[in-house]
Symmetry: C2
Subunit: 281 residues, 2 copies
Amino acid sequence: MKDKEVWIEDQYGIDQGRSLEIKILKSIEKIKSDFQEIEILESKYFGKVLLIDGIIMLTEADEFCYHEMIAHIPLCVHPQAKKVLVIGGGDGGTVREILKHQEVKEIDVCEIDSAVIELSKKHLPNLANSFGDKRVKIYYQDGSKFIQEYKNEYDVIIVDSSDPIGPAEVLFKREFYEDMYLALKKEGIVVTQAESFFYNQEIIRSLFSFIKEIYPIAEYYYTMVPTYPSGVIGFTFCSKKYHPIKDFSLEKTLDLKNLKYYNPEIHYSSFVLPNFAQKLK
Amino acid sequence: MKDKEVWIEDQYGIDQGRSLEIKILKSIEKIKSDFQEIEILESKYFGKVLLIDGIIMLTEADEFCYHEMIAHIPLCVHPQAKKVLVIGGGDGGTVREILKHQEVKEIDVCEIDSAVIELSKKHLPNLANSFGDKRVKIYYQDGSKFIQEYKNEYDVIIVDSSDPIGPAEVLFKREFYEDMYLALKKEGIVVTQAESFFYNQEIIRSLFSFIKEIYPIAEYYYTMVPTYPSGVIGFTFCSKKYHPIKDFSLEKTLDLKNLKYYNPEIHYSSFVLPNFAQKLK
């Protein structure tokens, strides 16, 4: 039995009859921004926790599983990604991993809510210190509008979004994926956060119903994150030219430092899905 | 916010500051056996749930992820497993999967608690109907003692145990793995439930500290099960001769029917571990 006063419950799955709870020592800071409620908490076993509208965005203990996999998969496939766009990603973890690739010369970050970046800089330095790198430029804009202003601009676009409720809803629509196609260079790759094949099958089916029409290569891969619903979260891999397996470069993985999750074999195996999940794409 | 009256919390991780909760419609039957408290519940979204001492053993919605992987991995490596022992496995799910292999002629099941089998037969027919097959023989005994009476007897032993607290604690000890070595035929394979590489690292380290000394081949593989802690659970693969990858037989997978998780590519990828998990074995 738990002492209820010191636990938080992740709100995302409650309507679907499931909830992950973790034990909290204290709330460090809680604010209401123009877009959402953002809170940093200290947990007993998972380090600090970033909570947005009651949903766990990350914990310090397992964020590496997500951030390494959203960044290194596309960047070890694209042979020479010089300019990368991150949409969302206000905690800085994705940028931290992208910066490990020396060929990347410019990283634009488009985050709708400056408060996420401010709070992360203050309380999650291991992630948000990445924003201090001189290759990084931050835009505080709606990603779905930002993307419409660019054509043939980016080698890789990474959509590190929250769930399709609230401000991120538009990032799961066909128009957004069409606009990203235009914003990519002719050999570009898009990777987007695409939920769990256990709990969000309708979202994945919906995404693949149109991304297969837009991109010549449309695949799905996953990573394991204990503090996300079901312990599994996946990504779309949308590409104009490069295939995630056939064009994977082992060489590019050799220079990557301090990896706790990603390795060349994981690169391959993350695209291998259980039978029931293969049918979603 | 949840209506607390209709949720159960999995007790296993509560001391480590984490808990999965699922929404329950009603309790179907709850008994106190000689060994443990056993309950069958009807959940809102996961079908029926088997709970032992407050810990989720299985839900109808995702049990296939576990049972397919504990059974088909060893049986698609061993070229001709005729006699198989299951220790634990009182719900019948593992036996259901073993029965899909025509080469298996005898399945001994050693379950310490007859009440688990009785309740499963009554309420989980999709799993426990397997016990009615004429190849199956059930022994109600302590698996750690049962195994000491057999030498050179089994082609494959599958330990489908609960967590190493209560009656299953002895199944995580060196002596038990030594006794299983002796009970195996000279080309035999043991597979055992071996917890999560996220949450149970000390258990995995402890197991590998001695299984590597006992078995020439000692590997670790995993499956994803949303209603288990962290969403991931692993298995030891201990073998006298056959290697789980080099000796895997694609042909054996062709006859397997109604698989929702296991496939040949999953066979390979389930042995691929994130960097941090590789260090445990």
